[in-house]
């Protein structure tokens, strides 16, 4: 069966990413940054993607990547989730990369692998794998239209745009208008992409590329959600050991202990489900069911963990100053990303033959 553990190399990778984030992605800095004009931390991205070479994990070595697998990407995402790092890693190193791998576009993949070019798929963040997508119109060889809810578009150098002729087009970011919108998740901001006769290069067929990209995204998002949930649990346990009321640490009250133990159980389950999804994507075995199971389970756990974290922190959890809101917003927005838990359960109804009435 599936290998659900972390290898020594994966643990070493985790340690390296965690060190970098500890030094360069403190919660206070993230809070300050999300209110600035540049919510993405592109210096952090350069360290992750360029110096550490993590943008090209999924890209074969002969195209300039690392030739690693979804298992390693999942470990990176766990750590990025744990730090709610505002970097376009999922958008570029997973979603855009998987779409280009489906199209076999070596040139763009080579650029994405270096991290110097950031890619984003111009499909709304809420779209589930296999669901219909909004497309741009092709008229006289150029692209027109308005595509909403595109994650990390403002950080991107290249947008991959599905068009009504069935093609997927690579469009330079400066050839379109990107309008940031106020987003629920401050650390994964959305934008509207407007194309007024933009020139694009057709890189392949949109449908299979988008499906593959969104499936990988849904499966690997579970690992990011694991990082978010694990932070929420760990931080809440730490706080409740310190916080005293009624002359006792609050964490000694049984009503709260049971809630945290329950949450721990959910996080343990999420870790197993997320590892199973990463491994299934890496091996290509039983992928559809395993990804759907992971994503049907992951988002509710991350939301529950961050909601509990807020409540159990009491008043301080409700302040802008405390980072728990960044995690709550990431978790709640994440529960809509790449298909809701309900959408993945509906997919399972078909996949495992438990059909609706």
């Amino acid at each position: 069966m599936t290998d659900l553990l972390y290898s020594e190399e994966e643990e070493a990778l985790r340690a390296a990413v965690r060190d970098l984030l500890t030094d360069h992605c403190a919660a206070a800095d993230v809070i300050a940054r999300v209110e600035s004009g540049t919510p993405h931390d592109l210096d952090l991205w350069k360290s992750l993607a360029g110096s550490m070479g993590l943008a090209g994990l999924l890209i074969p070595e002969d195209l300039g990547g690392q030739g690693a697998s979804h298992r390693e990407v999942a470990v990176v995402l766990e750590e990025l989730g744990r730090a709610v790092a505002p970097v376009p890693y999922l958008a570029s190193a997973v979603v855009a990369t998987e779409a280009l791998l489906a199209c076999g576009d070596g040139e763009l993949l080579g650029r994405l692998a270096t991290g110097r070019t950031i890619g984003a798929l111009a499909v709304g963040l809420h779209v589930a794998p296999g669901a219909p997508v909004r497309t741009a119109r092709v008229e006289n060889g150029v692209l027109h239209g308005e595509l909403t809810g595109i994650a990390d578009a403002t950080a991107a150098d290249v947008l991959l745009v599905p068009a009504d002729d069935g093609g997927l087009y690579a469009v330079a970011a400066d050839a379109v208008t990107r309008t940031p919108v106020a987003s629920l998740d401050l650390t994964r901001p959305l934008a509207t992409v407007t194309l007024h006769g933009a020139t694009g290069r057709r890189v392949g067929d949109a449908a299979p590329a988008v499906r593959r990209a969104l499936r990988a995204a849904a499966g690997l998002l579970a690992s990011e959600q694991l990082g978010v949930a694990d932070w929420a649990l760990t931080e809440t346990v730490r706080y409740l050991k310190e916080r005293k009321q009624f002359n006792r640490p609050v964490g000694g009250f049984q009503a709260l202990k049971h809630r945290l133990a329950q949450l721990w159980l959910e996080v343990v389950g999420l870790r197993a489900a997320a590892r199973a999804a990463a491994d299934a994507l890496a091996t290509g075995e039983d992928t559809e069911i395993t990804v759907a199971v992971a994503q049907a389970y992951a988002a509710p756990v991350a939301v529950h963990a961050t909601e509990e974290a807020l409540q159990l922190h009491g008043g301080i959890g409700m302040t802008w100053e405390h980072p728990v809101h960044l995690y709550l917003k990431r978790a709640k927005a994440g529960s809509l990303a790449y298909g809701t838990a309900g959408a993945h359960r509906e997919a399972l109804a078909e996949l495992v033959d438990l059909r609706a009435p």
Binding site: M1, T2, D3, L4, L5, V237, L240, K241, R248, P249, G251, G252, F253, Q254, K257, H258, L260, A261, Q262, W264, L265, V268, G269, L270, R271, A272, A273, R275, A276, V293, A296, Y297, R345, E346, L348, A349, V352, D353, L354, R355, A356, P357
Partner: protein, 393 residues
Amino acid sequence: MSHTDELIGRTREFLAAHPPEQTDRLDFLRARFDAGLAWVHYPKGLGGLGAPRSLQAAVDAELAAAGAPDNDPRRIGIGLGMAAPTILEYGTEEQKRRFLRPLWTGEEVWCQLFSEPGAGSDLAALGTRAVRDGDAWVVDGQKVWTSSAHLARWAILIARTDPDLPKHQGITYFVCDMTDPGVEVRPLRQITGEAEFNEVFLTGVRIPDTRRLGEVGEGWRVAQTTLMNERVSIGGMRLPREGGMIGPVARTWRERPEARTHDLHQRLLRLWVEAEVARFTGERLRQQLAAGQPGPEGSGMKLAFARLNQEISGLEVELRGEEGLLYDDWTMRRPELVDFTGRDAGYRYLRAKGNSIEGGTSEVLLNIVAERVLGLPAEPRTDKDVAWKDLSR
């Protein structure tokens, strides 16, 4: 040569010397024990070879492939899973030699005399008394929820030997002879209609001091070994997809389109996902153990399965519609084996209610996770430093 190859070699030699089809079942099992192939991680001379526990599976597979009889482990689970590890850790050499072989072959069935009507979650408050009388102890009290008591030759027993000490300190652990005339076993009928368990009344039962396990007053620590092994065995089975309680419900759903409703569909899919995640969690735990990295996740498996089994079996009763109003059989019986996924939906629903009580209630297990895994502080206690006889009850 690897450990595994060496063990497979030994197993083949053993099979050649004791061909299963020409050997009496009990002779075969006794010989297997004497060859050290019963539980390879036990010491030599006590059914093992001092080998890593993970190698047992290879031996079992080799024996099964040759059509060898097994010791029917489900029938003697309490002996194998709880009494044996405790005897191994705390028994004298003489006790190990006397008890382990017939325990493993199944010639002697074991039961566990721990819980009492007044000592459930607070097991350390138990009141069954053992009073020293020369070279023996005289035991009086009542035990409850004892499976296999009516079949058992021996019991592991904890009893209070010093009521003047705080409750955890005055307990001693014994091996009790279930054929003693002072032992009375009565079936305890449960909500399913049958009696898997018993009440055991102990009246003037004489236990020689040579059947004490561990030191006088050390019984609570000895019992921890027993209880840890109980929880491992409850949460630890390996399952294929839809291998647990979810399997029969999924089959019913597929076979009976007319029973489907939107509400049941939503609940079924949620539980299917949770059952699959629990299966991954169990598999991950096993992989950690095999890799020599045991994690704290084991503490959670019983909690997860208890809740899932209850919700799934509850859903199944509803899915059966009009049939859900029926029950297969209320006859009072004494089943020798219990199958949580056996019989009808109604039985499964009722039996699963015990899953969050037996072997540690879910509430106590949540405390254990909170304190031992998450390191949260214990509740303030008023019972720890008070003599047992002065506790309120």
